[in-house]
Symmetry: D2
Subunit: 385 residues, 4 copies
């Protein structure tokens, strides 16, 4: 069964390969009346771009083209299709891997599934991280729609290899990581991360890392028992990102070492409402959002493409061999991963907000539309240094 | 949008509340020709049952009744509906929580979502772990179908609170944990776990734990790029279980501390095929199964229901108050969670095996049917002490 | 892929065979706060019951049992499971067909699909019209929810074999057909229909017929371009009913003989709104409801089970043979079909009303709940002679 | 909920408006290994093109661009995205309708649903028949995959206004209608149709018509009880086409006038298998294909866009007014509709063939691939005069 669509009421379908003409996305389920410009999409795409010296050197201009669904600057209720041309595509460096599946990559799995003769080995084809451009492009619409409830999403890198961010960070600091080249919310750690990246790059190696993403001011009541719990859908969304190998929310794995009396949060009065004191559950109980900030973390494994030779088997000769990947790659894929995790969270939240009737499924009225635009402008300004 | 169904080609829909007349499941997408008896379902349900002295004392007999889809002992292609009556239901102990949402429980989230006036507070209603009976019942069919490829699934508890299983364990040992009251695969750790459970119980407290589940001999090629990756669907499935707060596969979060050169597995010749030396990726690359054993772990938070009083707010009086849950509950919900995680993995794998055409979607021929039955008998015997 | 579920936001999953223990349905996506009693369901089921002397003599008591989703008389947001026991089941008369697939029945198609050895030949198994009990039971919830917008649905038989109702009929008259044994909205035609049924029954034969169903006061804006148009979803819903072989709305097939200038309706002012003069389009344009009454018709073929012998092949001996079906069957299945067509229309409309945010997806407030109850009482009274 | 996708295992998502830059489609669920060229798609699109003098004069070149999913001329298992640029788009003639919703069109329904301010009135926007280009483009893949079982699909116009084709027609004759400008399978009727079209055009009017489509050599066993019956999915697919107002299969509405003894087909021996003598059920029983040819018909209403003025209301002034549509339009939209009905049938059949495991979901082997190509070449030759 097809697997290239995600979401139920707000549904994206992505297409395109790393070395094909485009990567693209069709966003279906966008209510009419949302103002949307090419710049909105470019804004989100800009944070997925590689930093200057640290990461993949592919010169991705990533200029989105909106093919449908917009009339006079507003959505019409029709599906919004967006494509981004793949420029600077040089497949020649991939000729070597044609017979040498790369350890840690999807190569062998794709070959076993689709047959060697149908394998698009250029740049990882559909399994390339390039595919996530589509997700981030779509997230511009999702994030804008979430502005209706003033829900903001931002993430940062909280560990890189052995180095862990070990202090509390405010949402404002996380937001500011958007203009840190390593998506770091603390200046001192940014320096440490930089150092590590430089060494790793020099070694021709890579490091994994942990990304944390927070949504503030989310609506309460998102998530549908018992399988479409918000924690389950967030997990699926984020685990579908290339290189992600683990997911947790709230206390996550730490909770397994703790007692019920420590983990159970205190229920307290908060103004006219009732809420939680410490938000140990990361904004989610019973798989439903409580209205407290949603806090998730995920584990990126180290980039598989490294210069250091790895052992593999030549499929033509059936002989043991070595492969050293020479293309351009990130020593720390988690860095660019931050914006992709943000994107996936935004897609899940907006989907559930529509399912719950909190964001309208068919059309925004003018007041909604203006409120979104105002909040969006504030958000954009907050993301600038 | 409804959230009580799971799976695409092999689809379960569950219903029923903790203190309603039944919990049940409709399994749709079962190919015709599968032999299925009440005993097959009872067998799987038996491992979800509480151990004698350690865990929830509810006397769940859990006798399944098959309502449809079977004729002369075999499936017909029609949906298989199964119900289990809720016996030994005493809602009186829940009257106290009627106005006191329990910290760590779904109570407040349900109230915010569905309205206080519609809240079924008895025993957690639909959010109760009782709901997982339906999943485990359905897994009997899934596990049997996976016998077609001789894929076996088994799990164990690898940590309980501060105690971690720190040695290698064979699949046979994991399988044998089925007759350990604490789902422990090593005798010496079973003793340590028992001690901890006893103390925790005495304290009126609870502990979290980590469950590991392994599928041996899985088909290669399961998982659909890019959103229905097997890792994404496993994450969703397992994160939808009550009390699960984290998920990982292969090296998981550990990989974030490691280098690419350490994590990249060696590709090697294996008989007539090509495989991986260390299976660092837990049987999954590019979101597709490689044919190596699938290894996942998940984090259970400590049971929220504890005797130790927690702070909450009385919804009627709007006053701060304390709540101490006196019903019967597990000091270590992860123990019974093992069979539920197994169940969810089996549902994902069979769904994807049908999607990939590896298990037939419409009917099994007689040879298939016999092969399944033979492997199933072997599996049942292996699970006995 | 499983085919026993219908609907997206309001989703039913049916199960059970004609001669199994029950037929049943799980209704998922019911907002919390809807008052629901066993009597509400019985009310709808009563119109599917066979009339005394004309139709199938099976004594179906059809007493629904609600297994989940209701607490203190109101829905909780959890799935509502309903079963109806199959009583008066005598499979002995089906032994003859064991090797003789019945012409016009699903027999041979089921055998080709699922294999002869897996075929449940008793009473048509899953292909029996008995399955529609589940649909009608679920429609009680759908019809109640549509009372929020005061949308009422009613149908009648507009032709039986050669006799066609050839006069205009008001919605009130259609509603009154509920207490006509032949679902006829006009007394004089009822007599003609009765005569025909009597003759047909005597002959051991059967007749087809056309059912018309109308929804008055539907919300405008239902239907999602371009595949989930309301006309497409109504067609799917109604064509999924056993014995239905054709569907049309508005002018339907008649429009093919007409000119654009005749078919194009006049757009006119209607109070403060704008509407259509003749409703030639049956309430649907561009696949979206216009707010005018929705008018659909469908063709039931004559009941396949007849006493007159038909030619078939004995599957065991491979010899030509004759079969004469002696079980109890309707000479005019379209009569009981009326309530099933009504049911399917209600399921489609409520699903789309939730998709469009017109009926809430999560919970009804008390005012909504009372409005529904009030309109429902009015509707029930209107259906009584 | 989004409505721009169709199919479950073979799933298309369409996008694009009549006067936007493109119309396009993403086809997900295409097995790897299918040879696919731009010419294959152009071949199918060519039959949707307007005939010279009779129909819409828009000069649609309809050159498809394949954006993804193909490598070295074969599918890879990745989604296939196809766009067709909209050329010759002149929106100026639509300025008049900006305030004058056109009778018989989707205009008023779209306005009521999405809001007047979000309405893309140019050329019908998303409701335009132009959208069906996407469906026909996708059908090239579907029809090729069906060549694996040598299933061929072809349709013809069987009535135009008052003129009905009243003789038996062979499948070969239906196939040959592909090069008839009016999709007529009989020369003498083609002349009559031409005459009628000429007169209708002169009058500035339009006529409805009936299209019949036949699939020969379909696999038996397609269709999933009880809601995804093949008859239900065909109905949904075909009723989703603009201007279609009715659907039937086999005897269809005629069966309502007939007796069971006339409609029940004879089951007879056919070589080594068992089949039906007259195929009165149009290849479908119990909602499942029997292996006999599938025969469906659908009703197209007359084109709504006519030169003859119709009554409407000016939305700005709220005054009664007249509208006369001056753009280029078909006097007989059913003619071009034939290829769209064919397309929708092919999409349903291939979807169900994959669901049933008859067409592989993941990859075609080389033998399959060659068989398809051989049958496809034969099919293309048969469609040439």
């Amino acid at each position: 069964m097809p697997g290239n669509s995600f979401g139920k009421m707000f549904r994206i379908t992505t297409f395109g390969e790393s070395h094909g003409p485009v990567v693209g996305v069709v966003v279906d389920g966008v209510p009419a009346g949302l103002q949307l410009s090419k710049e909105d999409i470019e804004f989100e795409l800009s944070f997925r771009k590689p930093g200057k010296s640290f990461v993949s050197e592919r010169k991705e201009i990533d200029e989105p083209e909106i093919l449908s669904g917009i009339y006079k600057g507003r959505t019409t209720g029709a599906p919004v299709a967006i494509v981004v041309r793949n420029t600077d595509v040089d497949s020649s460096s991939y000729e070597e891997i044609r017979y040498k599946p790369r350890p840690g990559h999807a190569d062998l799995a794709y070959i076993k599934k689709y047959g060697y003769e149908n394998w698009d080995y250029r740049g990882g084809g559909r399994s390339s991280a390039r595919e996530t451009v589509s997700r981030v492009a779509a997230s511009a619409l999702a994030k804008k729609l979430l502005m209706l409830t003033n829900t903001w999403i931002a993430g940062h890198l909280i560990s890189l290899g052995p180095i862990e961010l070990n202090c509390n960070v405010s949402f404002e600091e996380i937001l500011c990581s958007k203009y840190s080249p390593l998506r770091c919310s603390k200046k001192d750690f940014e320096e440490k991360f930089k150092e590590l990246v430089k060494d790793t790059l020099a070694e021709g190696n890579s490091y994994g890392g942990i990304v944390e993403v927070v949504a503030v001011n989310p609506p309460a009541g998102l998530g549908e028992p018992v399988f479409d719990k918000i924690k389950a859908d967030l997990a699926k969304a984020i685990m579908s990102i290339p290189a992600v190998v683990g997911f947790e929310y709230g206390l996550g794995f730490k909770a397994t070492k703790m007692k019920g009396s420590e983990v159970n949060d205190e229920i307290i009065k908060k103004g006219n409402s009732i809420g939680f004191k410490y938000n140990t559950s990361g904004g989610i109980l019973g798989g439903i959002t409580t209205g407290e900030p949603i806090v998730v973390r995920c584990a990126f494994k180290p980039t598989s493409s490294i210069r250091i030779p790895s052992k593999t088997v030549n499929l033509r000769t059936n002989e043991d061999t070595l492969i050293s990947v020479k293309g351009r790659h990130d020593p720390a894929v988690a860095v660019r991963g931050v914006s992709v995790v943000e994107a996936m969270m935004s897609l899940v939240l907006v989907d559930h907000a529509i399912r719950a009737g909190i964001v309208p499924s068919v059309k925004l009225n003018n007041k909604d539309s203006e409120k979104i635009e105002k909040n969006w402008r504030r958000y954009i300004s907050s993301c600038k240094p």
